[in-house]
Every structure is written in structure tokens, then in C-alpha cells.
């Protein structure tokens, strides 16, 4: 039995449709991350699961129970918001306990539960403070504590880390992941940061314009992107895209004038795009995918990123950290054939 199941979820505001039939099954205890560019409908989906947004059509079931017509509080969920939504006029203890306000349990049990959560989050010393006396990270922890205290079937997070600075974000990322391993509840986590998605998720759901583009483990979406959008969205710097045409015998004639022989499902004459990640593209012998001068170098220490080709049409490749080619030097870039991705140039769908 799937813990959370979404069927053909549609959302329409007056005339504009923002979700076009989303379907997804989430296993019990799974950590699923929704990722996608701004405005793609991640928050809307999450809020429909939470019951904060009306469902235009489709079904949401939690723990095998259809929840479409249930109030948020009856859905056995908890949500953590981007700007924490912890109440400035209440102490940390009150804030964490707020999730238990309407729970029918003895006061002593509630207090014990709050203390347990505070221990897990390392906030025992801060229980009597007001939110204004906390740092951003601590505030976010209070918000998480308030969700945890109710031990819901599903945790919903809507970009909970985007108000934190980079270092704290990395730290909280790890903490949330550890927390998940410890408490084991199902988590749906929304972000527009693909690094967050890759590092935290059991499975990633990539969305665009109200459609799901691909669902898969971080490794799947990275190594076998379903289309050019996913290919370019996941991984930084983005995947290079080299246009070409399929010839007889599985050969692909690139616009740059090189021929690559690949095992692809593409039909002869079809326009395709060859995708290759910067980390898979390097100066060396082998099929020459790109030839051109080095425009810019970005030393990262262990390796150096080089931008090669014509201005405005350059590709990014990875060169050695110690002896990278000089700026202006002509280089030939190559890649292992198994690291090449082929997409239909028109639809963007992966062809192998």
C-alpha cells in the first residue's frame, strides 16, 4: 500500500490551468523531492496534498484513505513553510507545542513529547526563548519541531531552506536527512535547487509548467534523463547540447562536422541533439565532438572548467587541474560513447 498516492491531479485558477494531471505514488517512509523552476506548480501540488488549496479534479489519498474532502487537520500531515511560520508572540516551547494544541492527550504527555522533540533537534536550552532571540537556522528547527511533535504520516516541506545562507543550508540539509533516517516518516520536500534535490531525495520528481517531466532516483535522473529539460536542469554546470542529424547505420552527423556512431533508436534523417555533461567532456583523443579555442578558464582546484567554441555557442568541458589548456589554445573535446545522450531535437525526448 502506497502511503501517499496522487491521481490525475489538476488545478485551475479561473481560466489558467497550472497543474495538468499529476500522478505519483509515494512509498511509506520515502523521501521524495519535488524540483522545478519557479512557477512550475510545486507549491500548488504540495498545498493540495495538505488541503490548503482546493482540488480542481483528481484524487489524493494518504495511507489508503481518500482525503480530497478532508480538512488539513484530518489528513495526518504536517507542513513546514518557507518563512518558518513560527509565532513571534510565543516561546519556542509554545510554538513546538502548538501542533499538539488540539490533540487529545494529557498535558504531561504533551510536555514530554515537546521535550523529546527538543532533544532530537538539540533545542532543549532554547525552549523558553522567543523566536526573535533565535538565529535563522534555529527558527527553522523550531518550525520542524512543530511539525515533528505530531508524528504525522507525511511531512510536507515547502522550500524550508531558501531563507538560510549557503553554509547553513548545507548543514540543515544534512540535519533533515538524518532526521528522516531517524524518524522514518514519509517526506515530500519542495525546492527549486537541484543540488538539494539530488543530495536529499530517495526519489526526485522533476516538474515543469504543471507537468511531471520525470520521476526517478537521483542516479536515474542524472544518468538517464528522460528529456532535454531534465538533462539540463539536473547537474551543474548544465549538460552541453550538440545538434546533429541521424544517418544510416546509427551514425550521427553533428553540425560541427563530426560523425559519431551510436546505438540509438533514432530513424535516419531525424534531427537530434547529442547531450554530454561537462564532467564527461574533456580534451583528448577519440571522436572529436567539439573543436575550438578555449574562451574562458574556471579553475576549481582539482579540475578546471573550460569554455570552448564560438562565443555564445560555447560548450563547457572539464580539463586537468594542474595543466589546463591556455586561453586561446585550440582544443579537441571528446567523450566516452556511453556517456552521450541522444534526444529528439523536436520533442526533446530521450532516444536511448
Amino acid at each position: 500500500m502506497a502511503d501517499l498516492s496522487i491521481r490525475d491531479l489538476v488545478k485551475r485558477y479561473d481560466k489558467t490551468q497550472v497543474l495538468h494531471g499529476i500522478s505519483l505514488d509515494v512509498e511509506d517512509g520515502e523521501f521524495v523531492v519535488f524540483v522545478g523552476p519557479s512557477g512550475c506548480g510545486k507549491s500548488t501540488t504540495l498545498r493540495m496534498i495538505a488541503g490548503l488549496e482546493e482540488i480542481t479534479s483528481g484524487e489524493v489519498s494518504i495511507a489508503g484513505r481518500l482525503v480530497n474532502n478532508l480538512e488539513p487537520k484530518e489528513r495526518d500531515i504536517a507542513m513546514v513553510f518557507q518563512n518558518y511560520a513560527i509565532y513571534p508572540h510565543m516561546t519556542v516551547r509554545k510554538n513546538i507545542g502548538f501542533g499538539l494544541r488540539t490533540a487529545k492527550m494529557p498535558r504531561a504527555d504533551k510536555e514530554r513529547r515537546i521535550d523529546e522533540v527538543a532533544v532530537i533537534l538539540g533545542m532543549t536550552d532554547l525552549l523558553d526563548r522567543k523566536p526573535s532571540q533565535l538565529s535563522g537556522g534555529q527558527r527553522q528547527r523550531v518550525a520542524i519541531g512543530r511539525a515533528m511533535v505530531r508524528d504525522p504520516a507525511v511531512f510536507l516541506f515547502d522550500e524550508p531552506l531558501s531563507n538560510l545562507d549557503a553554509q547553513l543550508r548545507t548543514q540543515m540539509r544534512l540535519e533533515i536527512k538524518k532526521l528522516h533516517q531517524r524518524v522514518g516518516n514519509t517526506i515530500i520536500f519542495v525546492t527549486h535547487d537541484q543540488v538539494e534535490a539530488m543530495t536529499m531525495a530517495d526519489r526526485i520528481v522533476i516538474m515543469k509548467d504543471g507537468h511531471i517531466q520525470q520521476v526517478g532516483t537521483p542516479s536515474e535522473v542524472y544518468h538517464s534523463p528522460a528529456n532535454t529539460f531534465v538533462a539540463r536542469f539536473i547537474g551543474a554546470p548544465s549538460m552541453n547540447m550538440l545538434p546533429g542529424v541521424v544517418e544510416d547505420g546509427g551514425k550521427i552527423w553533428l553540425d560541427s562536422g563530426t560523425e559519431v556512431t551510436l546505438n540509438t533508436a533514432a530513424k535516419p534523417g531525424q534531427a537530434v541533439v547529442l547531450g554530454v555533461r561537462p564532467e564527461d567532456l574533456y580534451p583528448g583523443d577519440g571522436p572529436a565532438l567539439v573543436r575550438g579555442p578555449v574562451l574562458v578558464r574556471e579553475p576549481l582546484g582539482a579540475e578546471t572548467l573550460i569554455y570552448v567554441g564560438r562565443e555564445g555557442d560555447e560548450v563547457i568541458a572539464k580539463a586537468d587541474g594542474r595543466t589546463p589548456p591556455e586561453v586561446g589554445e585550440e582544443v579537441t573535446l571528446t567523450a566516452a560513447l556511453e556517456n552521450l545522450h541522444v534526444f529528439d531535437a523536436e520533442t526533446g525526448e530521450a532516444l536511448r
Binding site: 495538505a50 490548503l52 488539513p72 487537520k73 500531515i77 507542513m79 513553510f81 511560520a85 526573535s132 512543530r146
Partner: protein, 292 residues
């Protein structure tokens, strides 16, 4: 060595040096003059109120600020006059009840208009706002006729009913609830509170400064209200303080010294209310200044 000695500033000289004098510019002079005049304009009526309350009747029209023979007879007279207490109690009851009523109901309506999407919401808001444009003087007669029909003349209810809710208060609270993030409300909804609980435990504490300001406005407005209480009351026992005070003296002469004495005493509750609530206003400003 010698060089450092020379450079080191002479602490003594610094301590005793006159502060640098900046020539006052014209704008500054103008500002101070205006503020000074404004201050005088504010203080004079209060000064005259107190001064008059210390005068004998024959001195009242002698406009000097310091009475020739200041005395407290007027205070003894007013405080010993049984009617004064009755009016005082009437005014307190009316001002407190209307204040509580406005704080509760203006904010309930303001909250609803601000945080709920329902058909006709905008029309309701405009309808409420438009009542702001009708002056009290125009409403007094319909109110009176209505009170007469309903038997509300000469009752607390009759005095209070027009002010139990105000369009201004509703508007004010709606604007302030805009500053409460929707996330706060949705988080509480997920935590299982019903809408009334959310309003009371989440939204209301977050707009305390606005509530304090509203409370001060409403209290002062009702404490000093004159025309409607004058019209709707008949018996001396039902008078409010301002109506009662104006009745001091007889047809031939107005007893200004007694009116001013009563007025001086009646400022005390307004001061108390202000002192209680201004703390919240200042707190609110401080809280708003903190990020997050």
C-alpha cells in the same frame, strides 16, 4: 619620542573645550519656532482648564493664567455633587463597552475581509467604507427615530448602539491583518485550529499595536461624545460626563469654573487608558523593527 608627545592630544583640553558651535540655519530656526507655537497651542487649553478650575466665579472672564486666589472649592463642590459620580460611571460603562465591542467586532470583520476569499467580499468592503462618508449629524435624527420606536431612548443601549462597531475600525484592522503572513494562518489550520481559534490565538496577538491604537481612538471618541448622548438621554441620571458637565450652572449663567473642574477630573481616565495602551504601540513598533 618627542614627536609622539606632541601629537598626543591633551585630554584636559578636550574635556573642557566648548562643543563645536554650528551656526543655526534658517530652516532650523523655522522648525523650532513652528514646534514651539504648536506646543503652546496644545498646552494652552489644558493650562486654562486647570487655571479656570482654580478660580472663583467672578474671575472666570479675567483671562489671566495664574488665578489671584487659587483654591480647591470647585473640586470639593463637584466631587460632593452626587450627580457627578453617576455621569462618571455612565461614561465609563459606555466607553469601556464600546471599546471592547469595537476591538472584537471590528477586528473580526476586518480579519474576515482580509483573509477569506468569498463572493461579494469587495462589495461588502466598499459598502462598509462608504458609510465613513456620512457625517454623524446626518445620522442623528434617523437614530433618534429608531431609538424611539424600539424604546431605546434614555438607555445605555440607546447611547451605545451607533458606536458598537465602526467602519473606520474595520478598515484599520483589515489593513493591519494584511501584515499577518498567510503562512501563519495556514500553519495553524494544519495544526487543527478552527477559524475562530486562529483569529484569536494567532492573528489577534500579531496586531496588538493596532488593537491598542483602535482602543485609544474608540475610548476617547466615546468618552468625549456629546451630540448623540445629549439627544438620546432625557433624565439627568442617564447623562454622560460631557452632557452632564455642560448642564452645570443655570439658564442665566454657565458655571465655567465647575465645568472646567469636571473636565479636569474627566481627563484622568483618558490618561490612564492612554498610558496602558501606548506601551503596546511602542512594543509593536519595536517588534516590527526586528527582522523575521
Amino acid at each position: 619620542m618627542a614627536v609622539t608627545e606632541e601629537i598626543r592630544p591633551n585630554a584636559d583640553a578636550l574635556l573642557h573645550a566648548a562643543p563645536p558651535r554650528r551656526p543655526a540655519n534658517l530652516g532650523q530656526i523655522l522648525r523650532w519656532t513652528l514646534l514651539f507655537l504648536g506646543g503652546i497651542a496644545m498646552v494652552m487649553p489644558i493650562a486654562y482648564m486647570i487655571s479656570t478650575s482654580l478660580k472663583w466665579p467672578h474671575e472666570v472672564y479675567n483671562l489671566q493664567l495664574i488665578p489671584d486666589e487659587p483654591h480647591l472649592e470647585n473640586y470639593t463642590y463637584v466631587l460632593e455633587d452626587g450627580r457627578f459620580y453617576g455621569w462618571f460611571i455612565n461614561s465609563i460603562v459606555i466607553a469601556v463597552v464600546t471599546t471592547v465591542s469595537n476591538v472584537l467586532f471590528d477586528s473580526l470583520v476586518g480579519y474576515t475581509l482580509c483573509k477569506f476569499r468569498f463572493p461579494g467580499r469587495y462589495i461588502v468592503f466598499i459598502a462598509i467604507l462608504s458609510t465613513l462618508m456620512i457625517p454623524t449629524e446626518m445620522l442623528v435624527i434617523p437614530w433618534y427615530l429608531m431609538s424611539q420606536q424600539l424604546g431605546w431612548l434614555d438607555t445605555y443601549w440607546g447611547i451605545m448602539f451607533p458606536g458598537l462597531m465602526t467602519a473606520f475600525g474595520t478598515f484599520l484592522m483589515k489593513q493591519f491583518f494584511e501584515t499577518v503572513p498567510d503562512d501563519f494562518i495556514e500553519a495553524a489550520r494544519i495544526d487543527g485550529l478552527n477559524e475562530l481559534q486562529i483569529w484569536w490565538t494567532v492573528a489577534m496577538p500579531l496586531v496588538k499595536p493596532a488593537l491598542a491604537a483602535l482602543a485609544i481612538f474608540v475610548f476617547l471618541g466615546n468618552w468625549t461624545a456629546f451630540i448623540w448622548p445629549l439627544i438620546v438621554t432625557n433624565s439627568v441620571e442617564m447623562y454622560t460626563l460631557p452632557v452632564g458637565l455642560s448642564s452645570f450652572g443655570d439658564e442665566a449663567d454657565v458655571a465655567w469654573e465647575l465645568i472646567m473642574t469636571g473636565a479636569a477630573i474627566s481627563t484622568i481616565p483618558t490618561l490612564v487608558v492612554f498610558l496602558i495602551f501606548q506601551r503596546y504601540i511602542i512594543q509593536g513598533v519595536v517588534m516590527a523593527g526586528l527582522k523575521g
